[in-house]
């Protein structure tokens, strides 16, 4: 059978040699670049933007719960929070998408609300997506940073919000909610990972948001990175002691502490932590460099830098133990920040 097939293939190959040289050419349906016109650009961009905002909203919703429930662990780094996502924090590369966002949602001057966290005070006050925030606590706001500053100037008990809905102006008063001031941002980095940002905040990579299979898993990743942020603040206080330790030891210790505190944060926000170990394991299996090798050894760490949330010795059993305890309602050990011996000299 194969001989026939082979002969046919070779004969056909001989024919196609001549075909390629002088015979009929391939005629695929023609596409020209100019065929993607301005109108279509908007259409495609809007589709991408919608998807992006969906991802952003999902991350915001999960991180909102974690930040609010974990406020007591964030020490001085807390601030009043609105349960709304605005066009402001869509920080993706390319001005084109920013312009598109403005086009789609309007609001050149003010902050446009793109998503409201269900159950948050702002949702209960009846605010909808597409409303514009014009002023907070009597201060005019145009950008996200204005909003943050204005929220801090409140009296602590309530927030006064000025909104514009189509043409009418609304005044709303609602109770203030305090949360950790570290924000979660979605960032395309090409790797399934999370990381700290320089200022108040951390990122969840686009790939990570697409990798997680449920909001519980997303909450585990967000909790872990928020824990890193909290520990970083702590560490800043005790840097002197850390200076004497090796980088590796510090890395391992911080990673372990972030696992513990992260699970506490996740569980406090009422997300399921039972499958946390399974989630990290699934992630580790995608990165062979994360399994056996020392994640911070430059030789074994793999081609893409430090393996994302690499397996560290005994990590998964430890996570399993902590999540079991948390699932049984015992959160004291993991959530007691003073028990984290970051200040001890090593």
């Amino acid at each position: 059978m194969m001989n026939t097939r082979r002969r046919v293939a070779l004969a056909a190959a001989a024919i196609s040699v001549t075909t390629f040289a002088c015979g009929p050419k391939l005629r695929p349906p023609a596409i020209k670049d100019s065929q993607i016109d301005f109108e279509e650009r908007i259409e495609l961009g809007t589709r991408a933007l919608k998807h992006l905002l969906e991802l952003q909203s999902r991350v915001f919703e999960v991180s909102y719960a974690i930040r609010v429930q974990g406020a007591s662990l964030c020490g001085a780094n807390t601030a009043p929070i609105l349960g709304s996502l605005h066009l402001g924090p869509v920080k993706f590369r390319g001005r084109q998408i920013q312009k598109l966002a403005k086009r789609t949602y309007g609001g050149d001057e003010e902050l446009t609300i793109t998503h409201i966290v269900p159950g948050s005070p702002i949702a209960e006050a009846g605010v909808h997506p597409r409303d514009l925030i014009t002023a907070v606590n009597g201060r005019r706001v145009r950008k996200e940073k204005h909003l943050e500053r204005a929220l801090l100037k409140g009296d602590g008990g309530s927030i006064r919000l000025s909104l514009r809905r189509t043409t009418e102006d609304l005044q709303i008063e609602m109770p203030s909610v305090t949360a950790c001031s570290h924000k979660a941002v979605v960032k395309p980095v090409g790797r399934t990972t999370t990381g700290n940002l320089e200022k108040n905040g951390f990122f969840i990579s686009l790939e990570m948001v697409q990798f997680v299979e449920s909001n519980d898993e997303l909450a585990v990743a967000i909790g872990h990175q928020l824990a890193h942020k909290i520990l970083e603040d702590q560490e800043r206080l005790v840097r002197k002691n850390f200076g004497r330790r090796s980088y590796r030891k510090k890395h391992l210790e911080l990673e372990r502490a972030a696992d513990r505190l992260g699970l506490c944060l996740t569980a406090r926000a009422r997300y399921d932590v039972v499958n946390a170990a399974a989630f990290w394991e699934r992630l580790a299996l995608e990165h062979p460099w994360a399994i056996q090798s020392n994640p911070i050894n430059p030789v074994t760490r793999g081609p893409q830098g430090v393996a994302p949330h690499a397996w560290i010795p005994n990590r998964l059993p430890a996570i399993r133990r902590i999540s079991d305890e948390l699932a049984r309602g015992r959160e004291a050990a993991a959530c007691d920040l003073s028990a984290y011996d970051l200040g001890d000299s090593g």
Binding site: P28, K32, A48, F92, E286, N294, G302
Partner: protein
């Protein structure tokens, strides 16, 4: 210490290369191969000092590492098998479209220490010795290597008298000149202590083979100078069905075919031609191409450039492209219904 310094230097080399790769996928693959090379080159003693430090000693930790490496290796092996299943079929059925650039379709998954991530040395060592030889890990059922009786663990010593020293040598096997009318390839195999001569039937197919690239990015490339189709583990995760994987492999093989055509075109016109040929290639191998439009649309929202609507997005799910894809699908399905051969040169 010297090793550590060397490592530090190489680390700088890596990050430099990594920055450069933002623009093209090629250095990223080089990076990847380079890293594997590094793993192989570093003396075990240097590593064991790092790894068997105080933290790695308890039996529980060892057991955990073992379990994870095993699971990770099995995952990679399953993905290699899947890639091989789909790509070998497409290569075989696309033979006459690949003109004179033919190679034997073998249906082999091989490994060598150099290209095996360090973490997977242990799970492989349980089955076969891990060394520099080219070892068969799996054969695709029903394909020449399997029919000739090659089994997992065999070491490929030489093919047609030429010694095989790397997976590249196996990839470079071509059917041209003197061997283009042969019926079989003489393989020299080492199985245990004996050396066997096995004749493997020649099934001519497109010469380009598909390889796995371990990366989170959802991407695939036609790497011209290596004659390889690189498919990331991210893409294998994303393409839920074999049909979807076939669409991508067909498209990339289409690129390879067009590289060798005079005036093959550039940019999106090249993409259009590869779309066209890719669908033919996938359909010829018996894959269902009806989900193509939906698949590319979904993919364009998964990639960084697609999502940020960046100019570098080479595969926009544009109206024109959608129309072209739909027209091609209709053309192919029409031919299938009428029982005509799937020949893209005759509409």
């Amino acid at each position: 210490m010297e090793e550590f310094r060397a490592a530090e230097r190489s680390q700088r080399g890596f990050s430099g290369a990594r920055l450069a790769t933002m623009k093209s996928p090629m250095p990223r693959l080089r990076d990847f191969l380079g890293a594997l090379l590094m793993c192989a080159l570093v003396p075990q003693s240097a590593l064991s000092a790092e790894i068997s430090g105080s933290v790695h000693e308890t039996p529980e930790i060892q057991a955990e590492i073992e379990r994870l490496s095993e699971a990770g290796f099995n995952l990679l092996l399953e993905r290699s098998k899947r890639l091989s299943r789909v790509s070998e079929k497409i290569r075989l059925h696309g033979a006459d479209l690949c003109a004179q650039r033919l190679g034997p379709v073998l249906g082999l998954v091989v490994i060598t220490k150099k290209e095996l991530p360090l973490a997977f040395h242990a799970p492989v060592a349980k089955r076969h010795p891990v060394d520099d030889s080219i070892r068969v890990l799996w054969t695709l059922p029903g394909f020449p290597a399997d029919r000739a009786g090659l089994i997992a663990g065999d070491v490929i010593v030489s093919v047609s008298g030429k010694s095989i020293n790397g997976t590249g040598d196996l990839r470079r096997l071509r059917l041209k000149g003197s061997n283009s009318f042969d019926r079989s390839l003489p393989f020299e195999i080492r199985r245990g202590k004996e050396t066997l001569s096995i004749d493997v039937e020649i099934w001519p197919g497109c010469e380009q083979t598909a390889d796995i690239v371990i990366s989170d990015a959802v991407n695939a490339w036609a790497i011209q100078h290596l004659n390889v189709i690189g498919v990331t583990t991210g893409l294998l995760r994303f393409a839920a069905t074999d049909d979807e994987l076939a669409i991508v492999i067909g498209h990339e093989l289409g690129h390879h075919i067009f590289f060798h055509q005079p005036g093959g075109g550039r940019g999106r016109s090249l993409e259009a031609a590869s779309d066209y040929l890719g669908l033919y290639l996938a359909a010829r191998a018996g894959f269902d191409i009806s989900s193509t439009v939906e698949f590319w649309a979904r993919l364009s929202l998964r990639t960084k450039h697609g999502l940020t609507f960046h100019v570098r997005n080479s595969h926009p799910s544009s109206r024109a492209r959608t129309i072209a894809l739909e027209a091609t699908i209709q053309e192919i399905q029409g031919k299938l219904e009428r029982g005509e051969p799937l020949d893209p040169f005759h509409q």
